[in-house]
């Protein structure tokens, strides 16, 4: 059984990312569960999605210390949720921070560098992705989720391949968005091979 925690900020597309991972696992005949933050937190609050795939599991929520992988849409949110990670777990995170409105108001803004440096010190396998750059290349800020899923698949930590994800995208997305997302998927995957 494999568990993956996705975390970020409401509006970044974590829900779709977790559904893609779950569907890719189901296409292999595996059992899948997810749990997502839906509701008020979607308005710019903290959001987490839990994905658990493989043999039958009871709970949709990953216990702390049990995530094989964390996918961070925002490095500060990875730091906030790091207690979910297994000791030898892998972290894939976007490097750009999203400042909270409260932080902008109170002057308690934080640096991407501090967060990333901490993660790289604490986590054995930490892959940092320039999400802004990939979104720029693909021409849309909405492909961050697929880029991160691409890196997650390429890492092999969830037992899902990039090709598996590609098949899900083809089935799930409207044709006009497919090429853009396939590009983001490939660019995300490249971050792991390099």
């Amino acid at each position: 059984m494999k568990s993956c925690l996705l975390c970020g900020v409401g509006g970044q597309g974590t829900v779709l990312a977790s559904r893609i991972l779950a569907q890719a696992a189901m296409n292999q005949g595996l059992f899948a569960r997810t749990a997502e933050t839906i509701g008020m937190s979607q308005r710019g609050g903290c959001v987490v999605s839990h994905v658990r795939i493989g043999e039958y599991v009871s709970s949709p929520m990953i216990p702390e210390g049990q995530a094989d992988m964390m996918i961070g849409f925002e490095p500060g949110e990875v730091v906030r949720n790091l207690s979910y990670l297994k000791e030898d777990g892998i972290v894939i995170t976007c490097k750009q921070v999203v400042q909270a409105v409260t932080a902008s108001l109170s002057g308690s803004d934080y640096n991407a560098e501090d967060m990333i440096a901490y993660l790289q010190r604490k986590v054995k396998h930490c892959i940092v992705i320039d999400g802004a750059e990939i979104c720029n290349i693909c021409g849309s800020g909405k492909v961050l989720n697929v880029a991160l899923v691409g890196a997650a698949a390429q890492s092999g930590a969830m037992g899902i391949s990039v090709e598996d994800v590609k098949a899900v995208l083809a089935a799930k997305l409207k044709p006009q968005f497919l090429a853009m997302n396939e590009q983001a998927l490939a660019l995300g995957a490249q971050c792991v091979t390099q």
Binding site: V9, G10, R19, A22, Q23, M26, F31, A32, R33, T34, A35, E36, T37, I38, G39, M40, S41, Q42, R43, G44, G45, C46, V57, S58, S59, P60, M61, P63, E64, G65, Q66, G76, E77, V79, R80, L82, S83, Y84, L85, E87, Q99, A100, V101, T102, A103, S104, L105, S106, S108, D109, Y110, D114, M115, Y118, K122, G141
Partner: protein, 594 residues
């Protein structure tokens, strides 16, 4: 084929498998997706409506069940309070067609004003309740709920909590049955509640409780797992957490999963108690299973130690988790279960990230206009339930009270009649206005209140995901209907009404000032659509040559698209909707269109 279904989708599809014919409800997290899923998968043979509120939904569903149709009404836990009036009589009248009352509870609470446990309502109303532990169980169990409802001529509760409602699982879905026409309403004195009828029916209801306690004892969902001497009684999502928690040392425990907390399955409980020496209870919200076990022991003169919320051992507020349960079992029983133990005390500080009004949200402009107009004057701002509750956050700080749906309007009247100082403002959204705001306005006019009602009309029910409401002119059957006009309703009640676009900041401020000079019940409708349902305008950007870094835009508006960089304000073009509010606040005019 297996589908990845969310708990709420599984419940919806399960209800369709059971041949539901009439579906009603009022949106509310975490219940909303049930009705939406049925509307989406409906081939036209099922009648689906968003009702004006939960009371209306309950009554429409009851009428359908009187006529022999299978009906479903959906709501969140606090919505059940609104629907409790019909519920507490319908329980004594009963139904003909199967009727299921789906209520989603919200431990935490995560998206609700309170943690309220619907299982109490089941006991209070003396009607059976099913409580699912997973989406796949919910899919099957809602079908059973319809069968029980029809068999015992009673409405039946179906409850789930957030982590079941919003969890997804792989589920095999069958073919939907063909809907057969309901028999139709047959006139009979059984449908008219009178004291004598209630008295006679209460006797039947009490007798049914005993029958169902026996029948539920053999219900497959009520399950004993394992044969250890330490008993764990649990229900809902806590069952899943328990199974995860004890994974590394299962032999110690016998787990009793209670999916029908009322009527409490007493024979099943006896089987459980006979098998164990000590008992601990894990359930979210209130100690319902725990109290039932304690009560049952009183009746049967048995004396197991029962550990739980009543002994102060288990959390009595907020969510449980597998880690928490493992920790408690380790501490009390020395279970040596594996718990996550990585600590990160040296982690850099991450600021809290509360939800905020979206970038470009017209509510921000409305609140800001009222705040500016009332600057230096005394005023109280009574808020309500919806996206606009988020107006409480800094820097707007425009919600002084918030209680329940519609209460902002009537709380303001209480403040006024107690001679509390300042102009009383009540903020209410368009959907909430219809749901439970209108009667409050009638009360204000009739009883000569002095207040300003502010209707934040964004043409949708935004917080729960953009459902239509009576003011929109669209139904869940995809039909066009007559849109109910908020201004005409207000004028008919007797309030003076002004309508203004809040993004026209000058006009908005002037309107508030004008209304503040007047007395009696007057209303301002701030009308501008939710940014999530319209195409955004061109994003604004900041000319760094003329930006003086005063940060007034950030300090006054708190828009998530605005942040600080190198001593100047910057706009995130991906978030900005081009509402232009910040450009009207900027003292140097440096915020411009590209």
């Amino acid at each position: 084929m297996k589908e990845l279904l969310m708990g709420n989708e599984a419940i919806a599809v399960g209800a369709m498998m059971a041949g539901v014919q009439v579906v009603t409800g009022y949106p509310g997290t975490p219940s909303t997706e049930v009705l939406e899923t049925i509307a989406k998968r409906n081939d036209g043979s099922i009648y689906v409506e968003w009702s004006v509120n939960e009371k209306a939904g309950m009554e429409v569903a009851a009428g359908a069940a009187y006529a022999g149709a299978r009906s479903l009404v959906t709501m969140k836990q606090v919505g059940l309070n609104v629907a409790s009036d019909p519920l507490m009589s319908l329980n004594m009248i009963g139904v003909k067609g199967g009727m299921v009352v789906y209520v989603a509870d919200d431990p935490g609470p995560i998206s609700s004003q309170t943690e309220q446990d619907t299982r109490h309502y089941a006991k209070f109303a003396k009607i059976p309740i099913f409580d699912a532990t997973s989406p796949e169980e919910a899919y099957q169990m809602i079908q059973d709920a319809f069968d029980y409802s029809e068999k015992y001529h009673t409405p039946v509760f179906f409850r789930a909590t957030t982590r079941v409602c919003h969890a997804c699982a792989s589920i095999e879905v069958g073919e939907f049955p063909k809907i057969t026409k309901a028999e139709g309403f047959v006139k009979d004195s059984r449908w008219v509640i009178f004291p004598r009828l209630s008295y006679l029916n209460k006797k039947k209801v009490e007798a049914r409780e005993i029958t169902l306690a026996e029948e539920f004892s053999d219900y497959p969902g009520n399950e004993l797992i394992g044969s250890g001497k330490i008993g764990i009684a649990c229900g809902g999502i806590a069952y899943a957490y328990v199974m995860d928690a004890i994974e590394s040392n299962k032999e110690m425990f016998t787990v009793a999963k209670f999916v029908t907390p009322f009527p409490f399955p007493t024979i099943f409980a006896d089987r459980f108690l006979q098998q164990v020496d000590r008992v601990i209870v894990f359930e979210e919200l209130d100690p319902v299973i725990e109290d039932a076990l304690i009560y049952h022991q009183g009746v049967t003169h048995t004396t197991h130690e029962i550990i739980g919320k009543r002994t102060g051992t288990v959390l009595n507020a907020g969510e449980l988790s597998a880690n928490y349960i493992a920790g408690v079992l380790n501490e009390i029983f020395g279970a040596e279960l594996v718990v996550g133990n990585q600590t990160f005390e040296d982690a850099p500080k991450v600021p809290t990230r509360p939800p905020v009004l979206c970038a470009g949200c017209p509510h921000r402009a409305s609140f800001y206009a009222v705040k500016q107009a009332m600057k230096g004057k005394e005023a109280v701002f009574c808020g309500d339930i919806g996206c606009y509750t988020l107006g409480n956050a800094a820097p707007l700080d425009m919600v002084d009270t918030c209680l329940c749906m519609g209460a902002g309007i009537t709380i303001a009247q209480g403040l006024e009649h107690s001679k509390s100082a300042g102009t009383k403002f009540s903020f209410v959204g368009d959907s909430t206005f219809f749901a439970s705001g209108m009667t409050g306005v009638v009360n204000a006019v009739y009883n000569k209140a002095d207040m300003i009602l502010v209707v934040l009309d964004n043409s949708t029910t935004a917080m729960t995901g953009h459902q239509p409401h009576p003011g929109i002119g669209k139904t869940m059957m995809g039909e066009v209907s007559a849109a109910v006009s908020i201004e005409k309703v207000l004028v008919a009640i007797g309030a003076e009404v002004k309508i203004v676009n809040p993004l026209d900041l000058e006009a908005a401020i002037a309107t508030v000032k004008e209304m503040d000079e007047k007395s009696g019940v007057r209303a301002i409708i701030f009308r501008s659509p939710c940014v999530a349902i319209v195409k955004p305008d061109q994003a604004r950007h900041i000319d760094t040559n003329t930006c003086i870094g005063c940060m007034k835009c950030i300090r006054e508006l708190g828009c998530p698209a605005l942040s600080k960089k190198d001593g100047k304000a910057v706009i995130d073009p991906a978030l900005c909707t081009g509402c232009g509010l910040c450009s009207k606040v900027c003292p140097t005019g440096c915020i411009v269109k590209d």
